[in-house]
């Protein structure tokens, strides 16, 4: 039984590979900037957007992208006034999930949709979605490459970067907007609740394994792609959910990286 014989499996591998590159690339900077929680929060905000989109008869992916990108940019605008406020972010998380639940409640066939939004449905990805994800990833990675140099400096030494005339707020808005896109894409694989496993896990593991920026970045992307492809394969043979395997591999890799340090 070869997984590649099946159309849905080929789509799943493709989508997972594309999304993992984007998730790990943005995730690397997210971890470097100490904003992992913001990525997690954006996933929840995205749930409300996707549910609203589904209820309004639009595409859930479209609603998801719109709200996470806007949410990310908004977080960037609020800046440090928001970053240290766990309670504030937590409240937004809870409200977002509640709103998502409300919108889904308006639709009759909500249970299936809710599960796939929350926990992902990579095996249900069709060719059109793969293409959409590829377009999002290409545009996001290109933008990230464009701001990478100032973003790295601003992440490592914000005061000095400001003194050199870098516009920290604008960088933060642009970056978190990209994180929003990455979250929306990641949610297609693992769902809004588990984007952490795809974005933050590989980056955190990589930063434990090397002190070099370039190597760490490459390692994060490699780990994320390997983790996703393995998870899909394992799910195929075990019939357990892909998302479970992603979280298991993500946690396992992180723990192994901690032990190897």
């Amino acid at each position: 039984m070869n997984p590649l014989d099946y159309d849905f499996m080929r789509n799943a591998y493709l989508a997972a590979g594309i999304v993992s590159v984007l998730a790990a690339a943005t995730g690397y900077f997210l971890v470097l900037r100490g904003q992992s929680f913001a990525g997690h929060a954006l996933g929840h905000v995205g749930f409300a957007g996707a549910a609203l989109g589904a209820w309004a008869g639009l595409s859930p992916l479209g609603g998801l992208i719109a709200i996470t990108a806007a949410g990310g940019a908004g977080m960037g605008l609020l800046g440090s006034s928001l970053e240290e406020r766990d309670v504030g972010i937590g409240m937004v998380l809870a409200l977002s999930l509640g709103l998502g639940l409300l919108f889904l409640g308006f639709i009759t066939h909500s249970a299936v949709q809710a599960t796939s939004l929350l926990f992902g449905n990579i095996l249900g990805v069709d060719r059109a979605t793969v293409l959409a994800l590829a377009a999002i990833a290409a545009a996001s990675l290109l933008s990230l490459g464009l701001i990478a140099r100032p973003l790295l400096f601003a992440s490592l030494q914000p005061e000095l970067a400001e003194a050199r005339g870098l516009r920290l707020r604008a960088l933060s808005v642009a970056f978190l907007g990209l994180v929003g896109l990455a979250v929306a894409a990641s949610a297609q694989i693992v769902g809004v609740l588990l984007v952490f496993a795809l974005m933050v896990g590989p980056a955190a593991a990589a930063q434990n394994l090397t002190v070099r920026v370039g190597r760490g970045f490459a390692l994060a992307v490699t780990i994320a792609v390997a983790q996703s492809l393995c998870a899909i394969t394992l799910a195929f043979y075990t019939d357990w959910p892909v998302s479970f395997w992603v979280t298991a591999l993500s946690t396992g890799t992180y723990l192994a990286a901690l032990a190897a340090r």
Binding site: V31, L32, R33, G34, G145, L146, I147, A148, R149, P150, L152, F153, A154, S155, L156, Q157, P158, E159, L160, A161, E162, A163, R164, G165, L166, Q207, N208, V211, R212, V213, G214, G216
Partner: protein
């Protein structure tokens, strides 16, 4: 030759006047200690020299350029797993868009700066594993990138024990003399810098006084600065600045 001149500079922030009519001329190759209590405007003064804060009145003339800057809150804690070399590399040409590659020439420039402060070995280690003194050496190397003519060092001795303070201060003094730099270094502990700096710029009560330690850190000068009685006590080669006894207290004591 003049390195830096403040001409009746007034700086306000949030409706509060931080510095008022500050005038001072700093000469090239001078090591000036910027002193004063917390909130006296030491950081604001440096940011104004960098052009990050615009004076409400007056003029700041910067002759010695480029400026190397060591800000007060320096490295974000999340970056602690990155090695020193990459930290220094991140600041090169960072205002330009694109991927953070560095050229061979830039790599050599980092090597030169690290060698100046004897920190080549430190640059391989993650920043989070460095002691306070080691970290300061690394960040001094960063301030030396781009071959500055003037250094603005904001509290480089903060959080260090007296022995490490002494080492870092000695290093700054050596760099300043070897490279012929003009250095403005803020510190809130006056005694740490006595005997090392050429002159002090004392900030207090929104005003400033520039001169040798013995000229500036005296009861009449500081009392005029604050507009309130200040006592300066010298004991065992150390200087203590305290709020003076108020006149009515004295009367009561008599």
């Amino acid at each position: 030759m003049i390195a830096l001149r403040f001409d009746d500079v007034t700086i306000s922030a949030g409706g509060r006047r931080i510095l008022e009519d500050v005038s001072a001329t700093i000469r090239s190759g001078e090591f000036v200690g910027v002193l004063g209590p917390n909130g006296a405007g030491k950081t604001t003064l440096m940011r104004a020299v960098l052009g990050l804060v615009r004076p409400a009145a007056g003029r700041i003339e910067v002759v010695e350029r480029p400026i190397g800057y060591l800000p007060q809150v320096r490295v974000s804690t999340a970056a602690g797993r990155i090695c020193g070399f990459d930290l220094l590399a991140s600041g090169l040409g960072a205002a330009r868009f694109g991927l953070p590659w560095i050229s061979r020439a830039q790599r050599d420039e980092i090597g030169r700066a690290l060698a100046l402060v004897d920190a080549e070995a430190l640059a391989e280690r993650p920043i989070g594993s460095l002691s306070g003194g080691e970290r300061q050496r690394l960040l001094l190397a960063q301030a030396l990138l781009g071959r500055p003519r003037m250094l603005l060092l904001d509290e480089p001795l903060g959080g260090l024990d007296p022995r490490r303070q002494h080492q870092v201060l000695g290093l700054i003094r050596r760099l300043q003399q070897e490279l012929g730099l003009t250095v403005l270094m803020s510190a809130h502990e006056l005694n740490a810098v006595i005997g090392i700096v050429d002159r002090v710029l004392y900030l207090g009560g929104g005003h400033a006084a520039l001169g040798a330690v013995d000229e500036v850190v005296t009861s009449p000068v500081l009392s005029r600065l604050y507009g309130a009685p200040i006592d300066v006590v010298r004991a065992g080669g150390r200087i203590f600045v305290t709020q003076g006894a108020r006149a009515d207290d004295r009367v009561a004591a008599e």
